[in-house]
Symmetry: C2
Subunit: 576 residues, 2 copies
């Protein structure tokens, strides 16, 4: 591509409303522009990256035996009513009405549509398994779109759906898809991890997320140093302590803590560490009958631990989604504010984390504003009727598989695969005749990749102070040719034109700065900002020795190359 | 592709609700399925065709120097208010509201969005010309979606927009796009014509439509046999007659025609030909002030001619869009029904077509129910204050360019290119600094191809009683391999597997019927229905002589080919 025919829309300043580095760099490099909240136009530079990601995803899905199709963006309400999601799905589902006052939605996902297609087209177990996918525009009306294309309202997803006559068959396809996802992220050139995940609102029994590792990632993911165990922290089990609880050695004492409102302040005043305190969180429980008020439930965890809301909301007696109790209700029913609660004589259902249940002589709130208790012991001072795993694991915890201990990294979720089971096929009555001629509901899997999100995640993982650093496989251009004084030197122009033609012939994507509009420094800065992984600078001085200057995007120094060997060198550099 | 891994969803019966052949065949071949009115899912077979059309369009747009980008489906109302189209556009524009009660629409076209992008990114004439395009999902809330993907609500369009600092520059790019469109339809392998067209509601000065020729086409297109003049019949001028009008030879006579309600019945009763009669149509004119009733206007054309509504609604004094007057108003103001009107003593503005104005001794309604006049002559009996071109041309009319005479064919519009001028750039104030540093509004062109429509049009043009006949370039599969008794004969299986592998290696798209599920006749019928342009049947009897059977989709007979030469033969057949 000649720069004279390509929209280079780099920005010097970082736009104010861009919070994360990928959003900043996508704007600054001229990849995207905001049209409205959560709606982005992909400029030519950005679209080149997007299309390369799409192409890799498509190839690997085809290799895995999935069949590409294309379903509408606009979906009729009737199907969503059949699955029950028309009522269940929150306001992220953008519901619309056509000119005849019929109800539709903009599809955030396509389980209903694909299940409807399959129930109409597939009638025999002999036609199974079958996996269908599409790469398509989706819409989710996020309440607060942010981070650019990382959490936009309109986005492109690859969504695949598999259909099976048996659970074993689903598991086999699930493994094939797991491998296809690994192939995809390997080929794109990202550092990523598949991790065990919670199935959330999509439903189903078993699920993995694929995370691109990046310090800025929204999710915490957990690894064992002694096995290949990896999970989203939402999902990772904190094993029960194996040692016996210590015997009480102190007597319970009430102390005034009028100015201590946080665990840190309590620890400082009482000279204890947070791991010898507990905090008591109050959430809503399940009402026994539908019209009754939801009772309060106490969740007790160690002061240095974090509540795991996903684990908590799955517990019997706790309402889902997890809802913290309003302050005034706590005050009136328990007689003290949130910061002064504790498990001693607490008149509500109290669920104690297994690590908190292991403490002796610990500190907790006294259920009286401005007071704490020290030397508290379970059984003796506070009843311990129910212990559960309700905390996030922390680095150093033993791995749930019993091998090694856990470490924690940050990740950006870019893919998610589910063993859905029969949630949708049952609701829509999608069945096939089995070997005995009897109708049987199909078993399903579903498999998503956030294609637009992958682009942003790649940047979160690969950038420096000068801009983006694209992996070769998804770079908008693999090589930049930058001339020095092209309008003044025929030798430079000739050498550049020849190199440009040769690179195109070799099938290499190249951006040729064929105009003398910008100063050399600006061209160098722009191509670094745009993340082009390899660049060749051509000037008279080098050409006198038959040389050009090469610099890889991650190299600290440039070096001279013989012009004649430039292509071979670049081919080598691109092969890595 | 192995048939065992591909959704073959052919139907024996023609679905009831499919009116046109392309819709019927797309359903029967298993290319698409209806999700809701005007919303279609593209099954794997259909999507393969769609993607091939897309790929050709993309390559030729890139070759023409256009830059691909991608704009959102969902567009904010504010931009449409800036252009004025939020109010102007009818209910085809699906207006929606997000969770924050902000107004958006599903984009039927992207002039506003791209102009907004360009006004933000391009500031100097030096950055022009620039052409941007996208291949993207669009939505138009048609009141009566029909003909399958030919007139669906959700569809895929290639829309391109060019920006210029001068009119000459626009014209140069317009020519480049015209050529790119010719390249696209040439490569797809369709018989098509670019024709002069009306610019309609998109606006602008100059425009061509690209029509795929097909007997079932909705549009009439007009050609000269003496030049390359071609136009949509909406646009083609009917030249004024060059000879003098004949002198009156009859006196005007009133005759009773109580049972004659149509031109045909009047001609039969009075023993005259339709080309010596006139019909008088009553439409609404323009009110002088906004609150006044629109006056009636008479349009007089020859009895054998058709009114051209596009020409008529552009005339001064006639309201646009053209609206026929209600019967009761005609009756009360003119004293007679529609079938009995004529230009003699008609008390309203009367516009006479130039061919009708040439008649002498003609027949017309008497403005009295049940009566006609014969021997009517202009000037003597009826005033002739205004003559215009308001009819459709007919076969045999002289070509508007003065060379040859006109013929008429039917066409399906698949592309449309416009010299837009400054309609949108002015409204959105999209300007650049010119050579003198002064801000100047950009001039625009826009260029559309209905990508999903091309698929249907290709079928309308290429089919027979057995199904679709794909051009090689967009066939979902180029070749079908059909074995006879593959499960019983190792020789057949071996030969098929080898041929399949060799064809894939040669880069040929092949569908291999690798399973013994269907009878031979069913497999043959299915591949013909699906339109696969070449097929090889492999059976034991032929293999004994080292032969297989080849049949091109348009061939009446199959013939034997040496197995060893099959690939070379197919490569030859595909090169045409």
């Amino acid at each position: 591509m000649r720069a004279s025919r390509f929209l280079i829309a780099t920005l010097k300043e970082t736009p104010n409303d861009a919070e994360v580095i990928s959003h900043q760099l996508m704007l600054r490099a001229g990849m995207i522009r905001k049209l409205a909240s959560g709606l982005y136009t992909w400029l030519p530079l950005g679209l080149r990256v997007l299309r390369k990601v799409e192409a890799i995803v498509r190839e690997e899905m085809n290799n895995a035996g999935a069949q590409e199709m294309l379903m509408p963006v606009v979906q009729p309400a009737e199907l969503w009513e059949e699955s029950g999601r028309w009522q269940q799905y929150g306001p992220e589902l953008l519901r619309i009405t056509d000119r005849h006052d019929r109800a539709f939605c903009l599809g955030p996902t396509h389980e209903e549509v694909v299940t409807d297609m399959v129930r109409n087209e597939i009638s025999s177990y002999k036609q199974l398994p079958a996996t269908y996918y599409q790469i398509q525009t989706k819409f989710r009306d996020e309440i607060r779109p942010r981070f650019g294309v990382m959490r936009s309202r309109e986005f492109i997803m690859k969504d695949a759906y598999s259909f099976h006559a048996s659970e074993e068959c689903l598991q086999a396809t699930y493994q094939v898809m797991h491998q296809a996802y690994c192939n995809i992220f390997d080929r794109i050139g990202l550092e990523y991890r598949p991790v065990l995940a919670d199935t959330g609102s999509i439903g189903g029994a078993f699920s993995h997320e694929f995370h691109v590792l990046a310090a800025s990632g929204e999710d915490a993911i957990v690894f064992s140093d002694g096995s290949d165990y990896a999970a989203n922290i939402e999902k990772a089990e904190a094993l029960a302590p194996t040692s016996e609880r210590a015997q009480p050695s102190q007597s319970m004492t009430k102390v005034a803590t009028p100015s201590a409102h946080t665990i840190e302040e309590v620890c400082a005043q009482l000279a204890v560490t947070a791991n010898n305190t507990v905090k008591t969180l109050i959430v809503l429980g399940e009402a026994e009958e539908q019209d009754q008020t939801q009772p309060l439930v106490a969740l007790v965890i160690r002061g240095d631990h974090d509540l795991n809301e996903i684990k908590a909301e799955k517990l019997a007696g706790v309402s889902s989604p997890l809802t913290f109790a309003p302050e005034d209700r706590i005050k009136s029913e328990l007689g003290a504010g949130v910061g002064s609660l504790g498990p001693v004589n607490l008149p509500i259902l109290t669920i104690v984390d297994r690590s908190a249940a292991q403490l002796a002589d610990f500190v907790c709130g006294a259920n009286e504003d401005g007071f704490h208790l020290t030397g508290v012991n379970w059984e003796r001072d506070a009843s311990l009727s129910r212990t559960e795993d309700i905390r996030n694991v922390v680095a150093g915890d033993p791995s749930p598989d019993g091998k090694g201990s856990l470490g924690i990294k940050r990740g950006i979720e870019v893919g998610h695969i589910f063993q859905l089971g029969t949630k949708y096929s049952k609701a829509l009555n999608a069945s096939v005749l089995n070997e005995n001629g009897k109708a049987e509901v199909m078993t399903m899997g579903c498999y998503g990749i956030g294609v637009t999100r992958v682009v942003a995640a790649a940047i979160e993982q690969n950038h420096d102070d000068n801009g983006i650093i694209w992996p070769n496989a998804i770079a908008p251009f693999q090589v930049a040719i930058i001339p020095i004084n092209i309008n003044k030197s025929d030798a430079v122009r000739l050498a550049c034109e020849q190199l440009y033609a040769d690179l195109l012939n070799a099938g290499i994507d190249v951006l040729f700065m064929d105009e003398d509009k910008a100063r050399l420094g600006v061209m160098l800065a722009n191509t670094e900002l745009m993340g082009i992984p390899h660049r060749i600078v051509v000037g008279d001085r080098g050409l006198e020795n038959g040389e050009v200057e090469y610099k890889g995007r991650r190299d600290s120094e440039s070096r001279q190359l013989p012009l004649a060997g430039a292509i071979t060198h670049l081919q080598g550099a691109l092969a890595h």
